[in-house]
């Protein structure tokens, strides 16, 4: 629509330059300001003419998805609930909104409410200083269908949908439905399911891994011989009756858009409103870490996922290093282990000291044999930060060595005794001492 509008404007200008002002033909029936005005009126009316309110959600750039309940009112205020926290799921908060004639008609949440928490650049709100969760409070209107308005975040370009609620749904929201569904779903998944997957066509399986903290769902497509065909990631958000995937996922011939509870089972619900059964197996995972993780594999990086309860590791290295940096007055911005090409790997730390940012990294040569990896440190970052931060990076050197000799490790899943851990814990485990390991979350990039 933007492009059409621009073409139209360009057309107007051309005619004007050609001194044919009176000959302008309104190709789209109305003058542009009139057509924008019509759209503004449409959105403004739609928002307030929803007697039971709206539900909506989006993905953030830095931390998964978030879901909301909205009740837009004529006096330009809006009441909200959010799955951001337990209290935001229970307590209605009111703020103002407006539908503004910017470049495109834009819905702006223009005073503070739950939806602005994700955009708040203050670290107190939970995100990174200066950028928060990388989210928007201005949403450009795109289109609509029967019960849904489609918007796009102005800066971070994440899609944002508003869906009309029924009377029953609204009552559910207003009676703690967000928190209840979240509790019911996690209890069910934690207690009744082991490793979850969907059956795929041709004997393949699709592993479902839910990262509750990051609010992301991983789908790993495994073929009938156990190899990984592809990996699909999407963030999800909570509604009063489902976990909604921000981007639907294809399973056999269906597009699964949410997870719902049916009786005592969890089902994938597709866009045509049919259900797909979620299956479970105790162990092991459908695929091996060595198939999933590497330079030419679907998962490229291993990052911290916080300390995981019930893991038999001597040291939670990512967490320990973070603590040590913090104790020295420095903050880690980014830390990961990755194989940069077929023969070298890096342990990378980007940290802030005072107002300056530094990089400390150790590089390794490696070779792989089946599920084994042999690592030898060959260098450090261009400067000398790895050495000056020796105290802080000691847990890494303790595991991967200081370059004096090559060490043998194994790619492995680590089993947590905590049933709420639904995202598999991948590890690089020392052969010499199997409780020494680097464990974390596998990331696509």
């Amino acid at each position: 629509m933007n492009r059409v509008f621009f073409n139209f404007l360009a057309g107007c200008l051309l005619f004007a330059v050609a001194c044919k002002k009176d000959a302008v033909e309104n190709v789209f029936g109305q003058k542009p300001e009139q057509r924008i005005s019509d759209t503004l009126t449409y959105i403004r009316n739609e928002l307030v003419n929803a007697p039971n309110g709206w539900k909506g959600g989006f993905s953030t750039g830095a931390k998964g998805g978030f879901g909301f309940y909205f009740n837009f009112k004529n006096d330009q205020t809006v009441d909200m609930l959010s799955d951001y926290s337990t209290s935001s799921g229970n307590e209605l908060k009111s703020s103002t909104y407006r539908v503004s004639p910017l470049f495109t008609p834009t819905l702006i949440f223009d005073t503070y409410n739950y939806i602005t928490i994700m955009q708040d650049p203050a670290p107190d709100a939970g995100g990174a200083a200066g950028s928060g969760f990388k989210s928007d409070i201005e949403f450009l209107y795109e289109r609509h269908n029967a019960d849904t308005l489609f918007f796009t975040g102005k800066k971070y370009r994440q899609p944002f949908t508003l869906i009309r609620l029924s009377k029953e749904e609204q009552e559910s929201y207003l009676n703690g439905g967000l928190n209840k569904f979240n509790t019911d779903f996690t209890n069910l998944l934690n207690n009744n399911y082991g490793f979850t997957y969907f059956d795929n066509a041709g004997g393949g399986k699709i592993s479902l891994e839910i990262d509750y903290i990051g609010k992301m769902a991983n789908f790993v497509y495994v073929n009938s011989s156990g190899g990984i065909d592809s990996v699909y990631q999407t963030s999800y958000y909570t509604t009063s009756s489902s976990y909604n995937l921000v981007k639907p996922v294809k399973i056999v011939d269906k597009q699964i858009r949410s997870f719902v509870i049916k009786g005592s089972a969890i089902e994938g619900e597709s866009t045509d409103n049919t259900a797909t059964t979620l299956k479970s197996q105790t162990s092991p995972a459908l695929y091996s870490v060595s198939d999933a993780f590497g330079n030419s594999k679907p998962f490229k990086k291993m990052v911290s996922r916080g300390k995981v309860n019930g893991v038999d590791a001597n040291v939670a290295i990512f967490d320990r290093v973070t603590e040590l940096f913090k104790a020295s007055g420095r903050t880690i911005n980014n830390m990961y282990f990755t194989m940069t090409n077929s023969s070298s790997a890096i342990f990378y730390i980007n940290y802030t000291s005072g107002t300056s940012t530094f990089i400390a990294s150790a590089t390794y040569t490696y070779r792989r044999e089946a599920d084994r990896i042999y690592l030898k440190r060959t260098g450090i970052d261009g400067g000398n930060n790895w050495n000056t931060r020796a105290t802080q990076v000691k847990p890494v050197d303790d595991l991967f060595g200081d370059g004096s000799k090559e060490l043998e490790f194994k790619f492995d899943w680590v089993f947590s005794s905590d049933t709420s851990v639904k995202l598999p814990v991948a590890a690089i485990r020392s052969i010499a001492n199997p409780t020494n390991m680097l464990y974390g979350k596998l990331q696509i990039q």
Binding site: A16, P121, I137, T355
Partner: protein
Amino acid sequence: MMTIASCSKDSDKLDVDMNSFNTDPEGNSEVDQWLMSELTDPFNIEVIYRFDRNLTDVSKDIAPVDIDKVKPMMEAVLNLYLKPYQKVAGNKFIKTLAPKQYLLYGSVSYNTNGSVTLGTADGGRKVTLYGVNSFNAATVEGDNGVRRKLRTIHHEFTHILNQNVPIPSDFEAVTKGDYYADWTNSSNTDAVAKSLGFVSRYARGQYTEDFAEMTAHLLVEGQVWFDNYVVSAPISAQQKLRKKEEIVVRYFKDAFDVDFRVLQTEVQNAFKTLYSAKDPADLTQTLANWINTNKVATITFDPSSPIYNQYGISSTFKTIWNNFKNAVSTQEPSGNRRYPQTLQLRFSSDNIMTLRVTYLNNAQTSTLFADYDFDLKATPSTGEVTFSKRMPEGTTTAHGNGATIYFKDYFERYLLPYFTNRVFIADWLPSGIGSTDPLYRTYGGFYEKGVTANYFYGPIELK
């Protein structure tokens, strides 16, 4: 546009239907009405609190303000900035010069150098306040308290004044060499900024910020705070801060015919009556500062005074005195004996203290003095006072008495180590004389730092 204009001569007038021109909807909430009646109508000030990206740095993520914070924030602006100026400088002044637009944002604005922006003033017309969501109208002090936010308001308004009448050129000259663009650098600590004669770290950024910081601190933190700040700075910095203060006061008079002192009192009164603010303890009214500013002549310990029966005496100090007195008065041969009566600390300047023993001669017929000079160092911000033996010794008769064999050994054995081996805290002793007592600040003394049971005191005689 040129083309259109030149080609449209034949049309009578530009024919645009403004009815279909699209605008933001106007609000009419309780907050909107309050802003209209309290700020827009009387002062012609518009308050924009609903988020608008284009009115701030478009590339940054800045959170909108919480609507519950709008009224408390603007109430503070009204009470602690607009009304005092209106009262002291007049309606015309405030209506002409006050910013016409206030923009409120909820979060601070993060800069690439790690600092955050709390406020800006553009073109003398618009003031943007960031971080309003953390504002807490119920607390006065601290980062989220009323003072901190109002400092930003007054700081930005000072910029507007400066855009109308430039800062006097002698202001920049006071600390010319010490301005430091990279003021957020960790080397520019609060202490460094103070020692160079700046009222805050930010004041070091450039002289325009320095001027705004000086004005804002004087008005918002108050004179007692400023005097404390000055008195706890090194002497060289004290002179610079006082010079800057004088220029600020003069600037308001010369440029706008505003009595800065009256304005300051007005702002401070509003803080005290409306926000229950309290002045900090006045560091200038401490014994250490009295000594440091050369106000005190003597403090005398006379063991026969009834004051020690009433308010007590330190047994540690009493033992020292008695040991000294007994050693001098019972020495052999008996012809050497002298009879110490009192001990007096004589502050001849802010860095020399003469310890005087008043005694009776061997025949106990006449009163004489034995004097010993000490170097003195008083730190008003902490109250700490240290003494060290001053060399060479003085040359007066009394100093000669002190050097005789009747005294010298005993002085060196008892009194010298007592005064030089510890850090004292100068204070209004005895503590039994409270601040409401008429005798308050007529007695004073010293206690050992960390050992409050070791003290001495006596009546103060001023110069």
